[in-house]
Amino acid sequence: MTPALQVEGLGVAFGGIRAVDGVSFMAQRQAITTVIGPNGAGKSTLFNLISGQIPPHTGRVALDGVDRTGAPPHLMQRAGLGRSFQITNLFFELTVFENLQLAAQRLEPPRQMLRRIGHGEASLQRVGELVERFSLAAKLGELAGALSHGEQRRLEIAVALAAKPSVLLLDEPTQGMSHGDTADTARLIRDLSRDVTILLIEHDIGLVMDISDHIVVMHQGRMLAEGAPPEVRANPAVKAAYFGDASC
């Protein structure tokens, strides 16, 4: 079976600095692949390259075996990619319902574009599912900007997931969350990975080791190592570059 997401030799340079340099890996279906690395390792840039926000200088990106290198974000989304952001990136002046509805309306046939949103059954149904899964029912009428940080982070994932992507990129979903919320989110991500391929950036090493099926370690734009959690943990280069830093 072709992997859901395949990245080959991906790279980009800003003003001579190679932010991401020759990164290659695959994200298998129904699995969680996590990208780790110290700050400035190029993780978010890698996400921006995959999701089409920045066109890569080298390498290619394939979704479901189809080459999508250089496609802009809206076409990547249509090809089945969803993503969340490290810094919450919602429609703060719209209600939770409106945020979810906007994200889900891609599920509708094209003619729905020129019909009132109340007619869009598929998207309304999808909103119903998301509300249940992300426990947002009590908040539907609130402005996204008025939610607590934890709720906003949940909504951020829900919005990324709304159009039923085949690959979901989550950029530090637990960023700034309390301990309890982090554990809940980890469970949620594990849960989601049954239906969707997940590529994750995460700092909480305990959580990463716990839920990942495959780990990609980045350092200064390059890939340092990859493998299953135990392999990565045992890798001496990773220990030196990353766990060494993390322990102090």
């Binding site: 429609f91 002046e93 719209l94 209600t95 891609r106 729905q112 059954e121 309304l124 149904q125 159009a163």
Partner: protein, 341 residues
Amino acid sequence: MRSASSKDASAFLAFDRSGLAMRASHVLVVILVVAAFGFAAVGAALNDTFYLRLATEALIFGGFALSVDILLGYTGLLSLGHALYFGFGAYVSALVLKETPSFWAAMGAVLAATLVFGFITGLIANRVRGVYFALVTFGIAQVAAKAVYNTRALGASDGLIGIPIVPINLGFMTVMSNAPVAFFLFTLVFVILLYVAAAYLLDTSFGRILGALRVNEHRVPFLGYSTHRARLSIYVFAAIIAALSGALYPMLRGFVSPELMFFTTSGNAVITVVIGGVGTLAGALYGSVILTVLKSVIGTMTEHHLIVIGILFMAVVIFLPKGLMGVIRPRIARRLRGGAR
């Protein structure tokens, strides 16, 4: 499971703040229409011409202000040269009417010509964002207005005069453009139809993308929509609304002049929308009525009415950023929401 979800579906719409707000706008527009009918009845009884024609002009500029609000209030694009399309519609209409006094020919020509002209100028204007969009729209309008001003075939600085009286054949009746009551009511219906078209479009899935653009354009591409295409589409739509409003102008006044394209006209529409209420559509219509009333009332006292309007405008920008309708509409929306639950 499915039946439970579709039951939820209608309940969800109570959380759709934009939809509720739009329904509140409908209520306000209905009130305006009722008031306009009352006004027409009084005008007819008193055999008035002056005030009916003034009110007709207010409606025409209200239609133009609608298009400015579609861009500013619903998409977050401030155009400082939108009078270009109002004037364009007026000129195309005037040129056609001078050849043949057919309302439908004029409207058809305005629609087709604006589609092309709006698309081309929209491609240019939408290359840039934010404050640069404001300045580039200003620049394009300035170039076009000066070009018209200098072109003898278009009447140069005098504009086009001697537009004939237009019989508007509606199938069941014919409205003459010089009949004060009938043409006022016709303009009312026409502008309300523009409102309905705009309100409908803004309430569709496409319309919601525009609202998303206004609030946070960076996330929109990741929802699967091209921001450029959405912005260009609404720009052309707004140009058409402006041009169709402008097309009525020569029928009312019998002439068109380059002033219709100038910055003053664009600026007036912005003032209208801001005072009436940005992002409410109804505010554009109310704002136009309010400004017309203000100008004629203050105008009887002093010729310097711009001081009063300028101060009012500044006060609204500072103290009522959502304008007059921004104060009234949420109350109506709350009632509607209570009713929906």
